[in-house]
């Protein structure tokens, strides 16, 4: 089963991260504990070790690009696995979350 690796929250105040370096490329096998990428947070550039395992099937954020915490950083799974469905699901849940966000009262006002 393919799994999403999300942009980790590597500092208390981090809201988004920049991928400073990828240490793996699509097709590489990844073990838990292996260095996957370097991520620049609001504080420093941190090494990000994978805690998931599998073949790197998809890179969601290219080197130099910025993405919010929790967005798709990569997808790991078995070689040749189809990830289209996973990406599609992610899109639709994101759309739902956005709707909810609009309904919510503004927290900062209360």
């Amino acid at each position: 089963m393919a799994e999403i690796v999300r942009m980790p929250k590597l500092s208390d105040t981090m809201t988004e991260g920049v991928v400073a370096e990828w240490h793996k490329k699509v097709g590489d096998n990844i073990e838990s504990g292996e260095l996957l990428a370097e991520i620049e947070t609001d504080k420093a550039t941190m090494e990000f070790e994978s805690f998931q395992e599998g073949v790197l099937l998809h890179i969601g954020v290219q080197k130099g690009d910025t993405a919010p915490v929790d967005s798709i950083l990569a997808i790991l799974g078995e070689k040749g696995e189809d990830i289209a469905k996973l990406l599609e699901e992610e899109k639709s849940t994101n759309a739902k979350v956005d709707e909810k966000e609009i309904e919510k009262p503004d927290r900062n006002k209360s």
């Binding site: 590597l10 208390d12 504080k43 420093a44 550039t45 941190m46 805690f51 929790d70």
Partner: protein, 345 residues
């Protein structure tokens, strides 16, 4: 006393005469492996934002608390800093209550109101987890004073970091503790860094046992990567305390493999340094002793590893499924004094 320094690696394990029982080695292995594995998961849960607040991992330092717990008595008391996830495990608290505390759940050790840095448990006399660096030094002596005053038998184990050891309160505490011969063991969990500042950069007295000697406090350097060495040192120190001879200072040399907290890029040390310490890994050392002395079969070890994995999964599940606090609970467990004289509006 068997206070080998960290510079001397243990050799010829198989030729060693074992001073501890098979049961003790297996317990150490299981407890320390559980500390290690649960904290690895805790680190992952943190970066996935399953819980908030702070998170300081103990990975690498397991032998210090495991050796303390095996050498202490039931009535003894414990107080430590914010790096406190492993202490409840060593003292026999089910890890699910610690994980639930991280999650801020009602079922947590401190009713979900303390979080990562404030693990308390009355049954095993764990007097916290404290976030103020060094605050537990005078508090630990205070607990020991209370026991002495009331005629209780217990000894207090007061753990703090190499950074905390440089707080001024340590000196007043040491002076009084020696004056009154308090039943306390001061444990420096010396991992060589206070956040990113090495011991070398903060003092010209790198041997921290010297601090105690200036108060004529019995003080020793202990190999903190060896659970046996820690146990022996704690046992001797406790005996002194129980015999009414007062405090001991142990400079226990250990090492943390992970960053200070979760947002530490660790630019102050090399990767080689971390790897060198992994060669003396406390959990692997115990496993080596078990295997080379044939204290257990491979399948016994596999079973322990599986039990640990199950405990970790169970603990996380428990935390995730536990209820949140009710809003009214925010106003409970709060100390209030109507005529408090210091803050007036």
């Amino acid at each position: 006393m068997s206070t080998t320094t960290i510079e001397k690696p243990l050799k010829n394990k198989s030729k060693e005469v074992l001073n501890f029982s098979k049961k003790q080695y297996l317990k150490w292995y299981k407890d320390m492996l559980l500390m290690r594995k649960i904290e690895e998961r805790i680190g992952h849960l943190y970066i996935q934002q399953k819980f908030g607040g702070f998170c300081h991992l103990y990975i690498g330092q397991e032998a210090v608390v495991a050796g303390t717990a095996s050498a202490c008595a039931k009535e003894d008391k414990h107080i430590t800093a914010y790096r406190d996830h492993a202490h409840p495990i060593a003292l026999g608290v089910h890890p699910k209550y610690m994980v639930a505390e991280l999650y801020g759940k009602k079922t947590g050790m401190s009713k979900g109101k303390g979080g990562s840095m404030h693990m308390f448990n009355k049954e095993v006399n764990l007097m916290g987890g404290h976030g103020i660096v060094g605050a537990q030094i005078p508090m630990g002596a205070g607990i020991a004073f209370a026991d002495q005053y009331k005629g209780n038998k217990g000894v207090t184990y007061c753990s703090f970091g190499d950074g905390a050891a440089r707080q001024g309160a340590l000196h007043e505490t040491f002076n009084m503790a020696m004056m009154w011969k308090l039943p306390v063991v001061f444990i420096i969990e010396n991992n060589n860094y206070a956040m990113g500042t090495s011991v070398k950069r903060t003092t010209n007295v790198e041997d921290m046992s010297e601090i105690g000697k200036s108060y004529h406090m019995p003080s020793f350097v202990v190999d903190g990567m060896s659970v046996e060495a820690v146990h022996n040192a704690i046992e001797e120190a406790s005996q002194r305390a129980r015999d009414g001879e007062g405090p001991t200072l142990l400079d226990i040399r250990t090492y943390r493999y992970k960053g200070h907290s979760m947002s530490d890029p660790q630019k102050y040390r090399t990767k080689d340094e971390v790897e060198d310490f992994k060669d003396k890994d406390p959990v692997s050392q115990v496993l080596d002793t078990i295997m080379s002395n044939k204290l257990a079969s491979e399948s016994d070890i596999k079973k322990i590893q599986q039990d640990v994995k199950d405990l970790v999964d169970e603990s996380i599940k428990f935390a995730e499924e536990s209820p949140e606090l009710e809003p009214h609970e925010l106003y409970e467990d709060v100390y209030m004094q109507k005529d408090y004289p210091f803050i007036k509006d």
